[in-house]
Structure formats: C-alpha cells, structure tokens
C-alpha cells in the first residue's frame, strides 16, 4: 500500500472546516428564516381582529443602528486580534456585546409595550402570531450569539484567546454578521413592508 503514498501529492489548500461548517449552518438557518418571512408576508393584512401593525408598531431606529454597528465593532475586534493587539480586541469585543445587549433590551421594551399597553400577544391575531415568532426567532439567535460572545470575552479575560484562536473567532464573527443581515431582512419585512 505504500505506493499510494508514492504518488507525488498535489498541494491543495483546503478551507478551514469551521468556516465551511458555519457557512452550511448559515444556509440552513436562512431556509428557516425564509419560511418565517414568507409566512409573515403571506399573512400581512389577513388578521381578522386588531390591533394592526400600523396602529401599534414603532420603528426601532436606534436599536437597529446599535445592532448593525456591532457588525463593524466585531470586525474591528478580529482585525485587532490578527494584529496582536489584545487590549484593542477586548475593547471592541466588549463594545459588540454592549451593542447586542442594547438591541435585546430594545426588543424587550417593545414587547413589554405591545403586551401591556396595546394588548397584543402571540394569540391575539395573525399579526401577533407572525410578529412574535419572526422577531422572536431573530431575537433568539441574537441571544445565542451574545452567549457565545460572552464566553469568548470571559476566556480572553482569562488570557486564553490569542492569535491561535483567530480562525475560531472568525467563525463566530461570521455568525454575528449573519444575525445582523437577517435583522435587515426582518426589519424591512416587519417595519417597512408590513406596515
């Protein structure tokens, strides 16, 4: 069998498995979100009773800016880590978590207002059902991302994150960018088209 090694190996630069795995996960998640977005769009204006989106929804501009700019900060964080700046990485990573946390806080506030002021729950009407499930599904992904970001933050405070972990950090930041891109879609569907 040694002659199987005797063949001159062709050099192949194969991609990092984490990157490919995350790309696959993003493809799969996109399909899930697509179905929820289709359901949302299909049911726009089909609620039999109120409240309607026009009556109760307010566009969360500030929190959207927070989430979208967190994409920039996580990008800067990984770039600084690649250059070997531990402090810079920590600072921007922490900022990313704060921005993501602000976004979730915004969602929580909005839901609280919708439930207690406007009386809109997931079982009130079709709008409630589709709204809470789509925004909730996205919020769930943000929370999962935040959890992973916090774990990395704790590990790096313990001095366990260096340049050797860069490729894994990159995979996590891919996920975070995906969550942000999904928000652009959800935002457009819920707050622009859906109203």
């Amino acid at each position: 069998m040694n002659s199987l090694q005797a063949v001159t190996p062709t050099y192949m630069a194969l991609p990092y498995r984490g990157t490919v795995g995350m790309a696959c996960l993003i493809a799969a998640e996109s399909a899930i979100f697509t179905i929820f977005v289709v359901a949302y769009l299909f049911y726009v204006g089909k609620s039999v009773t109120g409240p309607t989106p026009r009556e109760v929804l307010e566009t969360p501009i500030f929190y959207t800016i927070c989430l979208l700019s967190s994409s920039l900060t996580i990008h800067l964080a990984t770039r600084l880590l690649r250059r070997g700046s531990q402090i810079g990485f920590l600072a921007f990573w922490f900022t990313t978590i704060v921005l993501g946390g602000l976004f979730i806080f915004g969602t929580a506030q909005e839901w609280h207002r919708l439930i207690y002021r406007d009386g809109l729950t997931i079982s009130t009407n079709l709008f409630g059902t589709t709204y809470y499930s789509l925004v909730g599904l996205h919020g769930f992904h943000v929370c999962a991302g935040l959890l992973m970001l916090i774990i990395v933050l704790l590990l790096s405070l313990a001095g366990r994150v260096g340049r050797s972990e860069l490729s894994r950090i990159d995979v996590l930041s891919m996920y975070w960018h995906f969550v942000d891109v999904i928000w652009i879609v959800v935002f457009t569907v819920v707050y622009v088209i859906g109203r």
């Binding site: 062709t10 990092y16 079982s123």
Partner: protein
C-alpha cells in the same frame, strides 16, 4: 499492512467486560461506529415499520375485514410513513455516508466527530420519542395514543380541536429533534468533503459517492429546515394559541401544505441521491469499467438538486391552484426527469460492453435501474396535472411512491449492504442466501406494488381502512397482501444472512470485489483513523493505478 491489520483484529479479540464495550459504543465519536449505530438503529425501525405495513395489508386483505379498527388503521399508516422516511431511510443513508465518506476521500474521521455523535443521538431519541407516543400520547384526555394525522399532517387535522391529547405533539417534536440531527449531519458531511480530502483528491477526482453525498447534504440544509420551521409554527399554534394554520382566525391550511411539500419533495431526492451514489460505485466495479460520463453525472446530480426544490406543488394539484401555478409545476416536474434520465443512460453506458459480473450487489443494482425507471414513468403520469386530478389520492399514488422507495431506494440499499458488508465486518455475506433474498424480494415487490396500481385506476382511495365488495378491488388487494408476505420472508432471509455471515461468513480480505476506491485499500474492518498513513491519489481510481502501474488512469484524466 496485513500484519498491522492482523494486530488490530487481534487486539479486538482480547476479552473485555461487556460494560466497557457498551460504554465505548455509547460514547463513541468514531465515524465508523456511528455509521454502524445509524444502520442498526434504522434496521430496528425498518422492522417496526414493516410490521405496521403488514398490519395494514392484512386489514385490506378482503372487503369488510375487521382485523383492526379504523382508528388503529389511521395510526398505522401515519406511523408507518413517518417511521420509514425519518427513522429508516434517512438514518440508514446517513449511516452509510458516515461510514464511507471519510474512507473514500482518505480522511481519518469526519470534520466534527463530536457533532457527529450528537446528531446520531438526536436522531435516535427523536425516533424513541415518536414511539413513546403509544404510551404518553393520550395525555389527560384519553384521546387516542399514537399520531393519526397522516405523515404529512395536513391542517386542520393537527389543530387542538381535531387532535386532542399529545399524539400530534410527539409527532411534531420527534421530527423537529431528528430534523436538527439531520441538519447537523449534513453540515458535518459537507464540511468533511470540502475540508478533509487527502492529498491529490481534487473535487474532479472524488468518487461519485462523495460528490453525490455532498449534493445530498446541501439539499438537507435547504429542505429539512423548512419542515423544522413549519413544525415550530405548528407548536406555536398548539401550545401558545397561535393562528398560523387556524382558518377560523384568518390562517391558511394551504400554506401548511406548501411548507410541508417544500420539504417533502426535495426529501425524495435527498433519499434517492445517496442511492444513485451506491449505484454509481457498484455498477462500474461489477462491469469492470470506469463510470461512463463522470463529469456529466456530477452535473446531472447538481441539476437535480436545483430543479427538485421547485417542483413541490405537484403534490398539490388536487387542491385547486390557478392554471399558471399548475403549468409551472408540471413543467418543472418534467424538467427534473431530464438529468435523472441522463444518469440512467450513464449507468447503462457503464454496463455497455463491460464484463458484467452478476454478484448480489449487481443484481440489486440492476433491479434498481429497472424499477426506478418505471417509478419515474408513473411519476410523469402523476406529474401531469389533468391525470393527477384523476389519480391523486388514490392507490395509484401509493403504488408509485412505493415503487420509488422500495423498488428504488430499498433495492439500492440492499445492493450497498452486500457490497460494503465485507468492508464493515471483514466477512462476506453469503452469495446463495443473497440471491435467494434478491429473487424472493423481487417477486414479492412486484406482486405487491405492480398490482397496487390497478385498484388506483379503479378508484380505490388511499388511507381507507376497508372497502365495499364488488368494486373489482378485492383480487388486487389480495395479491398485494400476498406479495407483502413474500417481501417479509425475503427480509427475514436478509436478516438471517446478516447474522450468520457476521459470525461464520467467509473472510473478506481488504479488497474482495477488486474495487478501485480508497476504502478497499485499508483493512476490513478499517483500523481506528482508517489509514495507517494518509494516502495520496492521482486519479479517480487510485487502486486501479496501484494495481496497474503500467497503465494508470492518471495518464488519461
């Protein structure tokens, strides 16, 4: 090499307490062991699903039979369908892919071994959850146990009003859980094929098995997830009072059908593409010729992958869509036949002029080719909207998709069992019993499913628990039931063969079929981490190059 292989087999023979062995199997992250676990698990469910099928066939044996009640009949066809698709076909194909892909691309293991174990256990517990419904399904209502809403669970059957208790919830959650398992496995297989190939294994040199598994994984990512999304919506409806599929509150029952079939039709291709992969490995070896039209095969598979995600509503012609939608889905359905036809021609082209060896794997492959072609032709009939209005929801449909699943998928799977069993266990399956299995199963299959088309034409609807005498359906149902018993006997022959060959079969050696792909270069069964040294390859048939240094393939590719 051989002495190393001996040493490894010898090491396995040392006596160890069974608890330790069990612990090793339960905590394993080795792709070969997980592959075997998947396959054994699927065989268990094949047995259970088969018993459910037999119960239904006995009930339909004659008119006005009262072997089981209508309620039990509903549970039987729901459980039979769900079990066979999600807990037999999917895990068994994942099992083979798990076992073979790293071996074929010269990798020591999958890209994410622990994720691999996690996916297997998700799938396994999904299946147990489904069957736990027999115990836990009635809930506080005493409202019947196992799910009885059919395997596609159309709304509003699944709403609280029509499905009290927890039976539908067991169905939903078990599919959700096993769906996550499938997605994780697909991610794993895809990453393995992209990132773990051995030196020289360019994409253009990969065995077709790896190529087709990659396409299948891509389809799992995009097609299983819509089902998961729909199941989440159904859970929201049932537990949080949502209205997705609640027609009283403006929801739509049709959209559940769309979501289900956006998953449901690609699922057929997810199941059949690995079978194409088996055939693409088996037919060349037993024709003693390289596969005909390798690049075209790859292209056709990718083409099937793309087209098959746009044909789903041909399952829904009878709900009354508009004529544009009907025409679109008729045309795409016709279009998907083109790449499939190309593949069939290529397999025949491979056999053409070859030195055919009619060993058991080859017999099953030829059975596959013939029956899959017929299944495709009845598929064309059902894919034509006007004819579907006549035949939709009848036994013709049942006969058609069993032709695909039993005549196509199961035959290819049996071929794969006979072909790779020597690699997995180190022993050959008995050829004599194998041929008996093949002929019995072939006869039983044709008795059951050929004649099942006819009551469909005569108007017998599917999913009825009994029928009136004097409609001309009795004789065909009788023949189908007889055929089902012949198939059951054939399966028993197969299981008997598996057991006796595992203990007393002929020693296989590394390469019993004179194969060409990398799995035959290592010992049978392969050692941990598969290869003593990671191989490197220069053509699509590395073992041919090795055995024929005077005329290697790499000179021509």
């Amino acid at each position: 090499m051989s002495s190393d292989a001996m040493a490894i087999r010898g090491a396995a023979a040392v006596y160890r307490p069974w608890v330790e062995t069990l612990h090793e199997w339960l905590t394993t992250v080795d792709h070969k062991r997980l592959g075997i676990l998947y396959i054994l698990y699927a065989l268990l469910f094949l047995f259970i699903g088969g018993i459910e099928a037999m119960i239904m066939r006995i009930q339909l044996l004659r008119a006005h039979n009262d072997f089981i009640s209508p309620q039990v009949f509903n549970r039987m066809f729901t459980m039979h369908g769900t079990t066979m698709i999600f807990f037999v076909a999917m895990p068994i194909l994942f099992g083979f892919a798990n076992y073979l892909v790293p071996l074929m691309i010269g990798a020591p293991d999958m890209a994410f071994p622990r994720l691999n174990a996690f996916s297997f256990w998700l799938t396994a517990f999904g299946g147990f959850l489904l069957y736990f419904s027999f115990v836990g399904g009635s809930g506080l209502y005493g409202a019947g146990n196992a799910p009885d809403v059919g395997w596609w669970a159309y709304a509003p059957l699944t709403s609280r009003a029509f499905s009290p208790g927890h039976s539908s919830d067991y169905w939903t959650i078990s599919l959700l859980v096993s769906g996550f398992g499938s997605v994780a496995t697909a991610i794993n297989l895809f990453a393995t094929i992209v990132c773990m190939r051995c030196p020289g294994m360019k994409l253009s040199r990969m065995p077709l098995f790896a190529w087709l598994t990659m396409v299948m994984s891509g389809m799992v990512l995009l097609a299983i997830t819509p089902l998961s999304a729909a199941q989440i919506m159904l859970l929201i409806d049932r537990y949080l009072g949502g209205h997705f599929f609640d027609t009283q509150a403006g929801g739509s029952a049709t959209i559940w059908m769309h979501f289900f079939w956006i998953f449901g039709h690609p699922e057929v291709y997810i199941l059949i593409i690995p079978c194409f992969a088996f055939i693409s490995e088996i037919v060349p070896v037993f024709s003693r010729k390289p596969i005909f039209g390798y690049p075209v095969m790859v292209g056709a598979t990718i083409c099937i992958g793309f087209v098959s995600v746009s044909v789903w509503a041909h399952h829904m012609f009878t709900i009354g869509m508009n004529s544009y939608a009907n025409s679109f889905f008729v045309l795409t359905t016709m279009a998907v036949g083109v790449p499939t036809g190309i593949k069939i021609f290529n397999w025949i082209g491979t056999m053409w002029g070859g030195k055919l060896q009619f060993r058991t794997p080859m017999l099953f492959s030829i059975g596959f080719l013939f029956q899959f072609l017929i299944a495709g032709l009845t598929g064309f009939m059902l894919g034509t909207a006007p004819l579907d209005w006549q035949l939709g929801g009848s036994y013709f449909v049942v006969a058609h998709f069993h032709y695909v699943i039993v005549g196509g998928i199961l035959f290819a799977l049996f071929g794969a069992f006979y072909y790779w069993f020597p690699k997995i266990t180190g022993r050959m399956l008995s050829e004599g019993l194998g041929k008996l299995h093949f002929w019995l199963f072939l006869i039983g299959f044709h008795l059951t499913f050929d004649f099942m088309h006819i009551p469909g034409f005569l108007g017998m609807p599917r999913r009825i628990y009994t029928y009136e005498p004097g409609r001309g359906w009795e004789i065909w149902n009788l023949i189908s039931t007889v055929g089902a018993f012949v198939q059951a006997i054939a399966i028993l022959v197969f299981v008997f063969n598996l057991v006796i060959s595992y203990f007393w079969g002929k020693e296989a050696g590394n390469d019993p079929w004179d194969g060409w792909t990398l799995e035959w270069s290592t010992s049978s069964p392969p050692p941990s981490y598969n290869f003593l040294k990671i191989p490197s390859v220069a053509s699509r048939r590395p073992l041919w190059d090795l055995k024929h240094p005077e005329d290697p393939d790499c000179n021509y590719e």
